[in-house]
């Protein structure tokens, strides 16, 4: 493969930007959460790329832990969203703004 590390980092940066856009633009809590996962995955890709190009296992191990933490985080976050839906009957962010003012 003749692709350099730059290409992977550019790809990771673009994915992160797309996820960032989704987090701010989308109004559905679940889709916002998915875009958050997308950002996490972009960082993961950058870590694996750097780990491969610098021949060090540390980045890959870090990705392993990121995946573990992300799984725990998704389980808790979705439980919170379900609890929220039970109480408020909505998952639309603009209707969940009672902390404003």
């Amino acid at each position: 493969m003749t692709v350099g590390l730059n290409a992977f980092l550019l790809l990771a940066g673009l994915l992160f930007a797309i996820g960032f856009l989704g987090v701010l633009v989308r109004r559905n809590t679940l889709v916002v959460y998915m875009c958050l996962e997308l950002m996490l995955n972009a960082v993961t890709l950058a870590l694996v790329g750097v780990s491969r190009y610098h021949l060090s296992l540390d980045g890959s191990i870090f990705v392993f832990f990121i995946i573990t933490v992300a799984a725990a985080e998704v389980a808790l976050g979705l439980a919170i969203i379900v609890a929220l839906y039970r109480r408020r009957q909505t998952v639309v962010l603009s209707e969940l703004a009672e902390l404003r003012n």
């Binding site: 350099g4 290409a7 550019l10 797309i18 996820g19 989704g22 679940l30 389980a75 639309v92």
Partner: protein, 191 residues
């Protein structure tokens, strides 16, 4: 060939990620998210991280996205009204997006380091146990020697998350609802 595969999977990952943001239906978002995660697993394969690619498919595309689709099915969040953010939020989001893209492009074009990945050293040398290796064995060795404490903390974190989810989903069931269902069941039985 590997170059061609890189471009194909990069396009697949980026395109389906963009469709996650742009799709109106939340279920379509989840499906494109799965596609994006699969593309990323393929990129991991191209980077010789076979174990992580398998983990990505199993944990992310498998467990996490199944959980998402399950919750989507449970909550029935399909609303016909398109919720657009307010204009300041939209402008801020687009501005941040452009800045992030420009930063990534600057990294790509200014710091030109197009060298191909170096060859992987042959496995077996204990002196270089922490150097890059493709086998899960190297992962296990690193996890249980250098990263033993983080590994145990990760296990504890999973336990805490499990207990937290159980508490969250138990306490918020309001007792009146449960009484009503019991009474309703009893009322059904009486006649």
């Amino acid at each position: 060939m590997a170059d061609f595969l890189f471009y194909v999977f990069a396009a697949l990952t980026l395109g389906s990620a963009a469709l996650v943001v742009l799709s109106k239906n939340a279920v379509n978002c989840a499906m494109f998210m799965i596609l994006s995660l699969m593309g990323m697993a393929a990129l991991f394969l191209l980077l010789d991280a076979y174990f992580l690619a398998a983990l990505q498919v199993l944990v992310y595309a498998g467990a996490v996205m199944v959980l998402f689709v399950f919750i989507l099915m449970l909550l029935d969040v399909s609303d016909p009204v398109r919720h657009l953010p307010s204009r300041p939020v939209l402008l801020t989001a687009l501005g941040g997006f452009v800045i992030l893209c420009a930063g990534s492009a600057a990294l790509f074009f200014l710091h030109v380091d197009g060298a191909p990945p170096p060859a992987i050293p042959p496995a077996g040398g204990e002196a270089h146990a922490m150097s890059f290796a493709t086998s899960p064995r190297a992962f296990g060795y690193a996890l249980f020697t250098k990263y033993l404490l983080p590994l145990q903390l990760a296990g504890f974190l999973l336990l805490v998350a499990m207990v937290g989810v159980i508490v969250l989903s138990k306490r918020l069931v309001s007792p009146p609802v449960r009484h009503q269902t019991v009474e309703a069941a009893g009322a059904d039985k009486q006649p």
